[in-house]
Structures are given as C-alpha cells and as structure tokens.
C-alpha cells in the first residue's frame, strides 16, 4: 500500500512522461501483487498482463506520437480542482467505512449467489476453477458483452488511426 502511494506521488511529481509511463506499469504490477496477497489470482493475472504489460506499451506508443516531456503549466494554485478532488476522496473514504471487514464471512458477497456458484460448479460444470465457470458459463452473457466491447474498442481505434493523416480525405474531397 505504501509502495502504491509512493509510486502514485512520483507519477504526479515527475515531468518526464517516459518515466511516468514506466511508473504506471510499476503501479499496476504492485497492485497485482496486492491482489495475489488477497487470493484473487485471476484478477492479479489480468492486472499484471493488461495494466503492467499492454497499457505501458500503448502509453509508450502514444508517447512516440507526441513529445516525451510535460509542459510547465501555470504554477498558480488551482483551487476548484483541488476542492473537487478532496471532496470526492473524502466521500470515497467515508463510503469504505460501511464496507464489511476483509474476510468477514457475513459480508453480502458471501451470503448472496457466490455460495450457490461454489456448490453447483463441481456437479454442473465439473471444472476446478470456479472463476472460469462463473465467467464463461453462469455469466456467459456478460462475458459476451465484454468481448464485444473489446471488438468495438479495437474497431474504433482502427477507424481513427489506421489511415495516415489526410490520405483518405484527399481522395474523397
């Protein structure tokens, strides 16, 4: 947690965007470690692969298209954004006060559908990884939607970036 905080602060302070991109990768990797400690290996796996791997590379790809140093903005203290950030942060922390303690067996997530998934998976699906069973079978619709989102994101980026600037427009106009 302390490490996460330190990395986040470093990202804010640093003006060198290359280092900031690398640090955001480190941030993801650290949170992946945190997920492993909390026994959420599937989430940790995704975080390590997507957050630390792909998004860092895409960030570097974006840096290739622009400059790698942040411009010095106005040094004047921006009061309104600061107030908004502080208010949101306080509200979020206040919200966590009501959350059940970590590992509490009475927590809503354990008393709702999770236990029925755990009981039904060995008989109905017959695979050891309950996360996969929930993702691909019990929640198949959601995963289909997620996959479609990935397709749409890919298509969108291709539509925006595929053709070199001006190439297409010149033909049409």
């Amino acid at each position: 947690m302390t490490l996460l905080l330190a990395v986040a602060l470093a990202i804010i302070v640093l003006r060198d965007l290359f280092a900031a991109a690398m640090l955001s990768g480190i941030f993801s990797l650290t949170s992946a470690g945190l997920f492993v400690v909390m026994d959420a290996v599937d989430v940790a796996f995704t975080e390590a692969a997507v957050g630390a791997g792909i998004s860092t590379v895409l960030m570097l790809g974006a840096l290739l298209l622009t400059v790698s140093r942040e411009k010095h903005g106005t040094s004047r203290l921006q009061l309104l954004p600061l107030v908004v950030v502080l208010l949101t942060g306080t509200a979020l922390i206040y919200g966590t006060l009501d959350m059940p303690r970590y590992g509490d067996p009475e927590a809503p997530i354990h008393s709702h559908v999770a236990s029925s998934y755990l009981e039904r998976t060995p008989n109905e699906i017959g695979i050891p990884n309950v996360v996969t069973a929930v993702l691909a079978s019990y929640r198949g619709y959601d995963t289909l939607g997620e996959t479609t989102v990935v397709l749409i994101a890919g298509t969108g980026v291709l539509l925006l970036l595929k053709h070199p600037r001006g190439n297409k427009q010149e033909e049409e106009s």
């Binding site: 290996v41 599937d42 940790a44 796996f45 995704t46 692969a49 997507v50 791997g53 792909i54 590379v57 895409l58 790809g61 974006a62 290739l64 298209l65 109905e124 699906i125 017959g126 695979i127 050891p128 990884n129 996360v131 996969t132 069973a133 993702l135 691909a136 079978s137 198949g140 619709y141 995963t143 289909l144 997620e146 996959t147 479609t148 990935v150 397709l151 994101a153 890919g154 298509t155 980026v157 291709l158 925006l160 970036l161 595929k162 070199p164 600037r165």
Partner: protein, 143 residues
C-alpha cells in the same frame, strides 16, 4: 550515435529465445484456464504481448511480414462470432442461448466444450484487438 533497437544482438537473441515461450505460456493459460488461474482474456493479452515484443525489436516491416495486419482484423470479428456462434448452436440444439448443457449428450461435457470454445473466442478477439491497436499506433507514428 544511438543504434536502432533491432541492431542490438543481445536483445535480438534473447527475444528470439523468449517469444516462443511467451506464446506457449499464452496457449497454456488459454486452454488450462478451466483448471488454474487464467482464461481467454489473460491468454489473449499474453499472446499479444509476444507479438508486440517481436514488433518492438524487429520493427514494423518485419512484423507485418510475419503477422499480416489484415489477419487480425478478421480474427477480431471471428472471435466474437465464435462466442455468439456457440450460443446459437446451443439454441439450435434445443437449449437456450449460451446454454452449453445442450451442446452434447452429456450436460457436463457440454459445459466443458462450451467454455473451451467461448474462451477461444475471447482469446482471439483480445489478441487481435490488442495487436491491431498497437499496429495502428506505430503506423501512425511512422506516417
């Protein structure tokens, strides 16, 4: 004078050794997702990172020779089609949409088959989308 990245012998040799294992690990995560951590999403990203590593070291032209960009555009749609197709096949064989029980005579086998195919679709789409986005970025930078 800084040398271009593809002239570094160490990077070239090490990546040539590593990339097959990255692909192998991705396939393991893909098809072993039923038994251990992982699945289509993670496998797709790992497979894509192997291709991206190759592109970073050997350059876009070599990468386009090895992996045709058009291929990924087709695979991207194919993945979702496989996913949806499994749902439709389940529909046609008497179940509900995405109800894998009806895919084979045995419900549990049907679930195995359904999950395997669906994860394959997810993996294909994720890999192709990631690689396509990366190629699009690099192409733009070059133009």
């Amino acid at each position: 004078m800084k040398r271009p990245i593809h002239q570094h012998a160490i990077l070239r040799v090490v990546s040539k050794i590593l990339i097959p294992y990255i692909f192998l690990f991705a396939l393991y995560v893909q098809f072993h997702g039923d038994f251990s951590a992982g699945g289509g999403f993670q496998a797709g990203v790992i497979f894509a990172s192997g291709i991206i590593l190759y592109t970073l070291i050997f350059g876009l032209d070599r990468a386009f020779q090895a992996f045709h960009p058009r291929l990924f555009e087709i695979f991207m749609a194919l993945g979702v089609s496989i996913y949806g197709g499994v749902g439709v096949v389940a529909l046609l064989s008497g179940g509900q949409f995405l109800e894998y029980d009806s895919l084979t005579h045995d419900p549990v086998h049907g679930q195995h088959l359904g999950i395997l195919l669906v994860e394959l679709g997810v993996g294909l789409t994720v890999t192709s989308a990631m690689v396509s986005i990366f190629f699009a970025f690099l192409n733009r930078g070059r133009a």
